[in-house]
Symmetry: D2
Subunit: 467 residues, 4 copies
């Protein structure tokens, strides 16, 4: 799960879709529950668009799903189908006009769009559209898609959307809705997740399977890379708009983004993380008294580490559940305060102990330094740190927010330097090989560009500009 207050890598969104004409009254409540389950993928804004007999109604606002919607609002959103979205965003573009779903009325009819990922060629496409007289109202990639659809010579919305997908480069999972259809599409490399499920009467689409569990839906299969599916009264139709590419799924979904109870490619995320912890214990040798997870993201790996190493798993840091989004501005001084507010070491547990802290990743190192500092204040004799992923040294162009790759500590320093900077007695990362070995996702391949620099798509564009 994402820690809203403490610097972590951020993803761009979660999407949800449902086609269930017999659940007209509850379609928005089901969508609401689905978005609740996907809330960890984005906390900036939330929205649901319903299709009531061809009449599309959209409600979106800044804030958490539980703040954006209430019973009154949901009751007004009835329909045969719906799409929903939760959005993560960097501060720059955090505004209502960037909330999704995007609902437009174009020459081909009403179209509602929600999108997770990032287009590499968005700026280029946008510039081209504007030069021909298109007017943009947001900075969303989603609006680029909308204008391409409106400009398409194909009369039919589905054909226009398919034609549009051919023009996109990057990582994306899209759910869309017209007057008649629910649509879902995944990019040719399957960079971002998207799954298909079945309800008693109808179908659901979601970024992760955890959204199916909450609403009692059954997992059918993953939307395949380069596949577009259309759901309407005649059932599901599948199109492969792109030739076969090797699967290049974002490995960070397994490390951090996805919810532990989700399954991807048949692999449970929690178990994959526990296996990463076990693998770490095999790769590195540290003498210590207790294994302490950095809550909550380090827990699964810490359990695996403890099991494999035989060092006892211990609850040594408490996480304050009620902090939410405090108003305090992100200055250097406040970063320290945030850790203090959010995480409380239990002195009686830590005092005099050699501690192995387990976390999933290090971005800028600031948080790690503060946590280690607090653990030392609590009386730890030694503080070792074990990270269940390789060092992040490259920007992501497919939807992970690494706002300034110059800030990546692993890009600036070697292992020893980082260790000294964060004040640890030792620092170990999981190897790329060990990471991939830990994940038993059937028929999956992975994008590891942020560790390895091997970009599956758009490397020609990527090389032009450093983010």
């Amino acid at each position: 799960m994402k820690k809203s207050m403490i610097e972590k890598l951020g993803e761009e969104c979660g999407v949800f879709g449902i086609y269930a004409p017999e659940k007209k009254d509850s379609i928005s409540t089901i969508s609401y529950l689905g978005l609740l389950a996907l809330q960890h993928r984005g906390q900036e804004s939330a929205g649901i668009c319903v299709n009531d007999s061809g009449n599309l109604k959209n409600h979106k606002a800044m804030g958490l799903v539980s703040n954006v919607f209430n019973e009154e609002i949901l009751n007004k959103l009835q329909g045969e189908m719906a799409i929903g979205h939760v959005r993560y965003s960097t501060s720059g573009s955090s505004m209502l006009t960037n909330a999704q779903p995007l609902l437009i009325n174009c020459n081909k009819g009403y179209l509602s769009l929600a999108h997770n990922g990032n287009l590499i060629n968005a700026a280029e496409l946008r510039q081209n559209l504007e030069s021909h007289g298109s007017i943009f109202h947001s900075t969303l990639d989603t609006e680029v898609i909308a204008h391409l659809v409106a400009r398409s010579f194909e009369d039919n919305l589905i054909d226009a959307l398919t034609q549009t997908l051919h023009q996109l480069k990057g990582g994306y999972s899209i759910v869309a809705m017209t007057r008649d259809n629910l649509v879902a599409a995944r990019d040719p490399f399957g960079l971002r997740p998207l799954v298909l499920g079945r309800m008693e009467t109808g179908y659901v689409i979601a970024s992760e399977t955890c959204a199916f569990d909450i609403i009692g839906a059954e997992f059918i299969r993953e939307i395949e890379p380069g596949e577009l599916i259309v759901i309407d009264r005649d059932g599901i139709k599948s199109h492969h708009y792109s030739s076969n590419k090797p699967y290049r799924f974002c490995v960070f979904e397994f490390i951090y983004f996805a919810r532990p109870d989700s399954n991807i490619g048949g692999q449970n995320v929690h178990l994959a993380r526990r296996e990463m912890g076990r693998q770490m214990a095999r790769e590195i040798k540290v003498e210590a008294d207790i294994v302490v997870p950095v809550p909550d993201s380090g827990k699964s790996a810490a359990m695996g580490f403890a099991e494999e190493s035989g060092i006892p798993y211990t609850k040594g840091i408490l996480r304050n559940r009620y902090v939410g989004r405090t108003f305090i501005q992100p200055t250097q001084e406040i970063r320290d305060l945030k850790v203090r507010i959010k995480l409380s070491p239990i002195k009686e547990v830590i005092k005099g102990k050699r501690v192995i802290l387990v976390d999933d990743s290090i971005v800028r190192g600031t948080t790690s330094r503060q946590i280690i500092n607090r653990v030392r204040e609590a009386g730890a004799k030694e503080v070792h740190i074990a990270i269940s992923s390789p060092p992040v040294i490259n920007p992501c162009y497919y939807g992970i927010d690494i706002s300034n790759c110059q800030e990546l500590i692993a890009r600036q320093m070697d292992l020893e330097g980082i260790c000294e900077h964060i004040g640890a007695d030792s620092l170990n990362y999981l190897s790329i090989k060990g990471l991939l070995k830990s994940i038993k996702a059937v028929d999956y391949g992975f994008c590891t560009a942020c560790f390895s620099g091997e970009y599956p798509v758009g490397s020609e564009l990527v090389n032009k500009g450093v983010k």
Copy 2:
């Protein structure tokens, strides 16, 4: 920590006080942080009253601490001292007029009051005051205290407050503020917690020590049962307004209410809970494959249980961090939904296993039944449940919300009946003796009335009416 959505016993409040004339600018921010740390004791409303050179300003509202205050509001609340409050409440009296601190202007000057606990003779006192012409504006016990102070023949506020304390029966921890002093008092049996700490320049009072850690304060000692302390420019003065009584501290603070990183009577709460888990493992014999805590309240005991029993501790249920307070009404159908929204079993972990679920208590049994049901759906072969406290069979008159003791399942059924009702393969409670043995609080005695029926105070009143 308290689960806002799932039925648990509820406490009435957390209190905070600070005297630090040199921190005029930051006194409200420090109070804010202190209340953040005490948020688990009450989420209905929050308030801070500051004393700016004898001018008392109060800000309070419904909601979480982080919702009630923002930077602008805190900047306006400057002063040499302050008191703060977070309030839990049952739905009936959940309204702004019942938020605290209560600030009144009476013949003896301005008085601000915040209170944790419950007075047994509140109704009697109130009736008496009203018959003499007092007008009440809330249903708070705190307002009874205020009117007694205003009516006192003592000219001085402190003397009037002391005189008032003699008239109160029940469990209470009070922080108060006049134009000149910060005041704290604890009931003669020490039923509710209250601790004293020291900052670089000044003193702090809080319900729990965890509020000291966040603001960097140092624990001095507990406020003693029957003690009233007055802090002003001349330092701390202590009065014992009540003769020595045996300590009867609420044992449920150790079982559930207090934060794991707090210390009470020198005993860390998390370690006490872990010991309760160990003790359980000694008391009961169940064959199983994994120990799974009901998050978050069952974690510490589950760890102890796993250690002592040798059955591995396993993360098998995920808790959704972003649910917050959803709008859905508490009907029977919704209680099921709440568990579904809040807790997600990880199927891959649970499938085919004999599971021991560890939780801290059972109130009505509804939640336990739903959790067990979900764990079975996830494929558990057997579901055993271990509760780290004895059965709750009596109402509490000192501040724990057991709204209707007829609803207590352990009052209605025997062990076997409960086990069948909640659908467990076996059910075990910790014994009272085992519970008390697990807590190493120096010089402490405990109120165990909710288990044993032995009420330390007011049993004559208690017997008159069944709550």
Copy 3:
């Protein structure tokens, strides 16, 4: 009508009451309409308290009647009887806790109170109550009345209220409500207005008759000085709690406060004002081309002046209807801006003309100076000013807001000085004798203290302190 933006004398309130058990569904809407008609008497806050089978519900907020209430709120306020209030207030005490009706729960039951006027001995009574332990929550005179009722040894609310009225000194019109009765009372000198009316089924009370017209009620009679009436299922009962005093009705109600379509003592207010204009024309001789009213308060008198003098009545200044309450702060520079925003001279009408401006009163002279200045800018050859009341030189202790009598220009300067200060070519006031002659209110006597210094009540208190 009152001009919210331009300095005028302000009154303290308007009150409304209704007893109509057969109009349960519409009782709050009728009260809302009644308050709309009384809005000119106060724009700071508004409130309605209904009595639904003995259950009293209160809704009040800062703002205009149309802002405070909406359809949803009114629908929730059902009952057999109701009282309402609109409040004018000086900035110091402009806050929600001072909004009315005041609803209290005391030993004698629920009591709701709304009040127009001012008690001279309020501070004295309050001090006495506080010294005996009463706690006040507002700075309202109304709360003094409430505490006196709660302290009374009379068991019955009506008896307690009657006993309370004997202790009050000053000008007041009160409407009150208990679980069983609607009550209305007027001070012994009849300083403030209060009238009784009849609906198809039930009775209404209001500050002015204009509230009856909007709801289709019929005027019965005035509540007499020193009279208390009680309305319940048995009809109306009248008590004279005070011995006969000479009527001393506030003459400023006729000059400015009351609405032109109201009748007081059988005299229509507009016609009384027109007669004041005629009387002015008889008293003073000014040669001029056109009579121009200062809108809206000078219109009626200007018409009378034009009729009697033969100089044509001309619309020469336009009032901007949409200004409302602008946010601009009341600095000297802004007072000028306010007149500019509010009043627009029509140049084509005024240019080259000798103008007689007619207004109802001059308080500090600032506004008059600005208006005259603007009229001169518009090209007037001469600007004469005629005021339809005598010079205001004394403070009022019975409910008119003359916040600082030192600011009264007529207290500081003689006629010539004022005329020079405001920049008029001539200035004339109506004489006290001429004023009284213009009002044909049957059996009425008047308080003219603000002109003459002859105070009907409390002169002994009045002399102690200068406001």
Copy 4:
């Protein structure tokens, strides 16, 4: 001025523009004051867009100017130039997305637009744009203009705007702003008003001259029909983008829309209306005792009528200033209530009199009937009605809101029928000839289509569809 609660013809908007680089700090406050003066032209929404060194910032919201802006908001809106807008709208399109100014970012740069009037060929243009892939976000004519500009092959914004104006048919006054220029344009027939003024340092544009008076600006001249002016650091440049057409100014601006203190074509509006009243008195003969205006729109004409006829002008109906926008829904029953709330006849003035009511127009007749009914209830012996305009029998296509011309009573009935329907003793309209004779606007011609059916532009479109 417009009566918001009582059915009247409605206009579409007021516009304001200012170029004053030396007034950077106060440019939004000046715009605010200008819009306050134009508030009578639209009360649904208000907005100001400023240009701060090429950076355009827009603030707009539903509500009155004084509600939409406050000091804090205005302080944030600094710049060298600004445009503003107040909007009237029918209920269907009353929503924030239709508030103006419209700010877009297109291939030619930032463009802000505000518009008063109506395009006859808007639907046609819009359909054409959409078929080429433009996506619309509002139902505003203004957005049609924006898309035409974005699609234009002219690189330069001004050239593109000029090219766009050639494509528009209808009545419009436009103010626009680019990064560098302030622009104003008026349609080829001058159907809607637009005037140019001068401040100490800079220029202003407004719908009416009354906006100049409030900010101390000086009137220079009218923007001519078919003229586009561009203001920048080099001063004013004028372009005539349309060949000379006869002036066809909307005569209803003189009858009702414009503010009495505005001048159009050198003619003061109030004096024109007074002359209409005089002309009526010449055209019709009615015996009566008093002339009573329907406030506020009938006042000027009633004064003229009284002067010419010798029958005394009398204030017989009071208008409630504080009603504002009540929440009550516009059902038939409520229309009656609205008149009752808004207008109060003064019985003592009207009783036993033969009354001539003067109003500016009759639309559906409902309001007139209610007013006459109330005047009769107040005791009038006879009620005659005189209307200072000819009967409205045709729809307007240039910006006046006659939502359903089938509802026009003068289209359904003859004079006698209307008179009977509204319950008057006699009914008289001013003749078209008499109306035009009353207005001394230099070099002006008028559109009288709503009376005569002679449409200056687009009759070919007009004939196709009946509104």
